[in-house]
């Protein structure tokens, strides 16, 4: 059995005295997970993995950035085996900080699309969410708005609902615009978006969706799973919100809709590499893919696994094929552009 982590300091002190290296040796049948996902439904996923493999999972769940800081300061002794983040920008940052190690897996190579994987094999995406528009059915005609570029069109002055630039989803979105148009045009675009905002940015994606339904603006920018969650809700309030809105997948005529990923990689100093690999491959199995899709309204990434009916009902769409690593690396630059444009 692994020593309880809360007692590790005590145990370590005792070990110093009795000088028994065996006591400190890594355990084989556990997997230490650092994750920034914290959805209740993921717990079913973890217990399913444990049931299938007999490998127990220890977890710390926190924001990505602090988690990375923790891994970094723990250094070579870090207990982390697997890192999970909910944004490509963050997993790429971990890679940049030297916190991941490349690994080869034929299973993953064959199941995960190439644009959702690090070309060097340090991480891969195991579920996606699209950044879409939720528009008021009664105010925005079908086809009236079709692209992220349209968000800056003066005809939508006072109509756009979007959250703050502190939020990483918007940094990644802007990073993808940056990849498509370059810095000058992106800054002009960001200024246009700011000029069109219905109100200063505030709250989360759900708040934007609610505000669009209530008529505070016409177009809310949000990740799909927030809307999916409301679509599943039994609350009459939420049902009314869903009734009033329509999902628009932007940029279907050109590069496709921006999607972001939940991603995972093996920690640079992982002690349980076999268990880590087993876990990552497990994430690409149909049953795990269904947990993400049905549990959190995300899109499965493995071919042949269908999204749940309420998500499929929004229709099929063309996905921006830009490799996640590219917009991820654009994040800091994107944030500076947003600062200059006055995007709070």
């Amino acid at each position: 059995m692994a020593p309880s982590p809360t007692r590790r300091a005590l145990l370590g002190g005792a070990a110093l005295l009795v000088a028994s290296p065996a006591l400190l040796r890594a355990q084989t049948r556990t997997l230490n997970l650092y994750s920034s996902r914290h959805y209740d439904t993921d717990e079913a996923l973890y217990s399913d993995f444990t049931k299938q493999t007999g490998i127990a999972i220890n977890r710390v769940e926190a924001g990505e950035d602090p988690l990375l800081a923790r891994m970094q300061s723990e250094g070579a002794n870090s207990p982390a085996d697997v890192l999970i983040t909910v944004d490509a920008g963050r997993i790429e940052k971990a890679q940049g900080m030297g916190l991941l190690q490349p690994f080869a897996s034929e299973t993953l190579a064959s199941r995960i699309p190439a644009n959702l994987r690090d070309p060097d094999g340090n991480w891969f995406g195991f579920s996606t969410r699209a950044r879409v528009f939720l528009v008021a059915k009664d105010k925005v005609a079908e086809g009236a708005i079709g692209s992220y570029e349209d968000l800056a069109d003066p005809k939508w002055k006072g109509k756009v609902l979007i959250r703050s630039s502190t939020n990483v989803y918007n940094q990644s979105l802007t990073g993808s615009v940056l990849a498509a148009h370059g810095p000058e045009k992106t800054e002009a675009w960001a200024r246009g978006v700011v000029a069109n905002m219905a109100r200063p940015p505030r709250g989360g994606d759900t708040d934007q969706i609610r505000a669009a339904a209530a008529g505070e603006g016409d177009i809310a920018v949000a990740n799909t799973y927030y809307f999916g969650r409301m679509a599943l809700s039994s609350k009459p309030e939420d049902k009314a919100v869903v009734e009033k809105l329509r999902v628009v997948f932007p940029n279907q005529a050109d590069r496709g809709t921006h999607v972001n990923i939940s991603a995972a990689g093996i920690a640079r100093h992982a002690k349980n590499i076999d268990a880590a690999k087993a876990f990552l491959e497990y994430l690409s199995t149909p049953s795990a893919q269904r947990y993400f899709a049905f549990g959190n309204s995300e899109y499965p990434v493995v071919a042949g696994v269908e999204p749940p009916p309420h998500v499929a009902a929004w229709g099929k769409f063309k996905v921006d094929a830009l490799n996640a690593r590219v917009f991820a690396r654009n994040n800091a630059e994107a944030l500076k552009i947003m600062d200059r444009a006055g995007w709070k």
Binding site: D65, E74, P200, D207, A214
Partner: protein
């Protein structure tokens, strides 16, 4: 106005008799200061690394705004908490009006409500899509743009939120000070012809000033360090900018420079208060022979007092709890079961252990200040108190860096010396978490303990010492009973603060270790406010327990009508 938090003014003209100094005590205070300063220094030292030039970018874009916002926040929260805290403390302590007894403890309740929770609750209730506005629109046929509704997502709004949950710090310390005041002094003022209100303004308030300053300083530091509420309200402050510079721009150097700027604000506060009262002593100099005779208010004045005390309770506790109850009823967390018991148990054990540890440390520091006064002690005490104003995330990362460095060094040494490593001894343990709480909350405990110690006249020490008592005996036999209330106050504040604490707990905690605050944060950051409301209500409920205990102890002391002590 923060001197009471950060130590007695020095040199004091009428010092305690123990002039020789206590080298052991002084050494302990220095060690504590070093321990507390280490994680902050770990972050600050990154200033000397090469940055990526983000400061220039920030200066061009957002710096002016964050300075103005931060100043505005301090002015509004400082004025708000002082007015509400002192006013209500005076009313319930020295006046009698309908409900005055109940308000003694009702006024403390907002203390149990975390700032981010009150922010969520008001946002949900007052949003354009929320129940109030939707109801009004449906009732009167209004539509967007043709009616006015107060906007809370701005600087005054966020200041109001913070004021509503932070004023109890001022209330608690001011009330303790009013209760401890010598009746003789107040009555002497009355005998000399002062009206009750003049006596209050000219004598009572000035005497309570160290305690009031300590309370306002705590509130201001908490406001400076707040991340969740200001971010949710879209108000840019030093704290949010540190966060986005560090993690969004990936520039730790610029973030450390901003953090240093934030510390500048704190030091400014410290300096102002220090200059303002450097030559004064606040010992009452007399015994309190009996309870202060309460002032029975007229019907009209009583009604006004009722409103003055009722509003903070209504806005800071009843309305937000009602909003949370509504959310819980709509779509609450279904997990009020074994899992919640574990969360609650973890929260309780952590908060209790932290309260004991932090209050002990604060007492040591306070005694070093009393028995070994001097510039070295003063500096050590100030350093030991600075953690409270630093955002929890920065402290947490500093702790990680400091402990990680220590663990790695020890590991390397053990490998070299014995051929095997020690691994991570402290990183990722509950001990690391307690360390983070010590750094963050030492100032919270130091405030009440030091202002309590301040109120014990030096002449008492002098008399006891003249009669042959040792300094330790003075502390045990004379100070300890007199300090019971401040010590309890300190423990309560730390307990409730740890219960609500988020960033350090999230980042530093061991594997598989969840608390109520983490549960609430995870759900709220996932935009499941309704589900989060259940955990939030449990936090509030647990936070009430120590509040009630403390209130009863104060009430008992007061009823006995005797000055506690030898």
């Amino acid at each position: 106005m923060t001197d009471a938090v950060l130590g007695p003014s020095s040199p004091a003209p009428q010092r305690p008799v123990v002039m020789a100094g206590r080298p052991a005590l002084l050494g302990l205070a220095l060690v504590l200061a070093a321990v507390v300063a280490t994680p902050i220094l770990a972050v600050a030292l990154s200033i000397f690394q090469r940055g990526s030039g983000s400061i220039a970018h920030l200066a061009e874009t957002v710096l002016a705004e964050i300075v103005l916002n931060t100043l505005g926040l301090m002015v509004m929260v400082g004025a708000g908490t002082a007015a509400i805290g002192v006013g209500t403390a005076w009313l319930v302590t020295l006046c009698r009006f309908p409900g005055s007894r109940a308000f003694e403890w009702l006024l403390l309740l907002p203390l149990a409500v975390p700032a981010y929770i009150i922010g969520y609750a008001y946002t949900d209730a007052m949003a354009f899509a929320g129940p109030i506005q939707s109801g009004l629109r449906a009732m009167f046929g209004w539509s967007r743009g043709n009616y006015w509704f107060p906007e809370i997502h701005n600087l005054p709004g966020v200041s109001l939120m913070l004021t509503l949950v932070l004023y109890p710090y001022v209330y608690l310390l001011a009330r303790a000070a009013f209760l401890d005041q010598s009746t003789c002094v107040l009555e002497a003022a009355r005998t000399l012809g002062a009206s009750p209100w003049t006596a209050c303004l000219r004598v009572g308030l000035p005497m309570a000033r160290p305690a009031i300053a300590a309370g306002v300083a705590l509130a201001l530091m908490e406001a400076l360090a707040d991340f969740g509420t200001v971010q949710y309200f879209g108000v840019t402050t030093f704290t949010t900018t540190i966060y986005r510079t560090w993690f969004g721009l990936g520039d730790r150097v610029a973030a450390a420079q901003l953090a240093t700027g934030l510390l500048g604000f704190v030091l400014l506060l410290v300096a102002v208060e220090f200059l303002a009262r450097r030559d004064r002593r606040f010992g009452a100099g007399g015994r309190r022979h009996r309870t202060i005779a309460p002032l029975y208010l007229t019907r009209r004045a009583g009604a006004l007092a009722f409103i003055a005390c009722g509003l903070p309770v209504l806005l800071g506790f009843i309305l937000p709890v009602a909003a949370l109850l509504r959310l819980h009823a709509l779509d609450g967390d279904p997990l009020l079961s074994g899992r919640f018991l574990t969360y609650a148990q973890n929260s309780f054990v952590l908060a209790g252990a932290a309260a004991v540890l932090v209050v002990t440390a604060a007492t040591l520091v306070a005694y070093a200040g009393r028995l070994s006064p001097g510039p070295v002690t003063t500096t050590a005490i100030r350093i030991a108190s600075i953690g409270y104003a630093v955002p929890g995330t920065v402290i947490a990362v500093g702790i990680l860096m400091a402990l990680g460095g220590f663990d790695a060094a020890l590991d390397g040494w053990a490998k070299a010396a014995f051929g095997w490593g020690t691994g991570l001894l402290f990183s990722g343990t509950a001990a690391a978490l307690l360390y983070a709480y010590l750094v963050r909350f030492l100032a919270v405990a130091a405030g009440p303990v030091e202002s309590g110690l301040h109120q014990i006249p030096a002449s008492l020490d002098a008399a006891a010492r003249t009669l042959g008592a040792s300094a330790a005996k003075v502390a045990a036999a004379i100070h300890a009973p007199m300090l019971r209330r401040p010590l309890l106050t300190a423990a309560l504040l730390v307990f409730v603060d740890v219960l609500k604490e988020l960033p350090a707990t999230i980042i530093v905690r061991p594997f598989n270790f969840d608390t109520l605050a983490i549960r609430v944060y995870n759900l709220a950051s996932d935009e499941r406010l309704a589900q989060a409301s259940t955990g939030a209500l449990v936090i509030v409920a647990i936070g009430i327990v120590p509040v009630v205990i403390l209130t009863r102890m104060i009430a008992r002391d007061t009823r006995l009508g005797s000055r506690p002590g030898a």
